[in-house]
């Protein structure tokens, strides 16, 4: 009986923790709808660094080769 109680208690605790995590990791429905409505526009803001910057980084890396 004790074992059954412990198992049940563990299940309740685990479910509560999962629920907490879901709440913490998810926004409200209204927020999510709005967020999805601006995702495409947010993606349009993406920019890349200059090739010169990438080359500098790669040259630095190669300079460390022994």
């Amino acid at each position: 009986m004790g074992e059954t109680f412990t198992n049940s208690l563990n299940t309740v605790i685990k479910n509560a923790q999962m629920k907490d995590r879901e709440v913490q990791e998810n926004l409200d429905a209204d927020d999510m709808i709005f967020y999805h409505s601006i995702r495409v526009d947010l993606d349009l803001l993406k920019k890349k660094p200059k090739l010169q910057t990438i080359h500098y980084i790669l040259d630095y890396s190669k300079s460390l080769r022994s």
Binding site: Q24, D31, S37, V40, D41, L45, K50, I57, L58
Partner: protein, 194 residues
Amino acid sequence: MDFQLQSDQDLIHLYISGEEAGLVELIRRYQSKIYTSIYLLVKDEYLAEDIFQDTFIKVINTLKAGKYNEEGKFLPWVTRIAHNLVIDHFRREKRAPMVSNGDDFDIFEVLGNYDESTEDRMVREQTHKDLKTLIQLLPSEQKEVLIMRHFGDLSFKEIADITDVSINTALGRMRYALNNLRKMMQGRELSLKN
């Protein structure tokens, strides 16, 4: 070998073992997310280039020193390095990156000071430009979370760790950011494409 099919962890191992192409692919894969995150925070292309460069130099030094131990978490790790470098920059400059207040910040105070005539020039084709402007009007804490969540693909747990706040605070800041953006868009009658 098709590097595009390799996991981040495999690419890191390849790079550490002397295969430069591993680093090339990691940069190709994440350059846009990391650079945009930095750029939106510092609002200066030259400075963003410098911080992006310094970020990857730190990444290289850490990997070469064998000190990387965040299995499968390359992007959050790099984002954290970039974020810390941005913070260091503003500490050095001793200036705030933008309008900054607590989470109870009222966006209408900013809107009230805005030039009304600019609204007329806001057209649909400029939505992304307008959105960028609106994001810059957010308090730094809210902008940070929005950028890390969207461009850095970080979970609220990871954002909370990076910014040293609780998960609920990070989540709350995202809610405030979205609410403020929505209010600003409504206030300026800005419509989106979708």
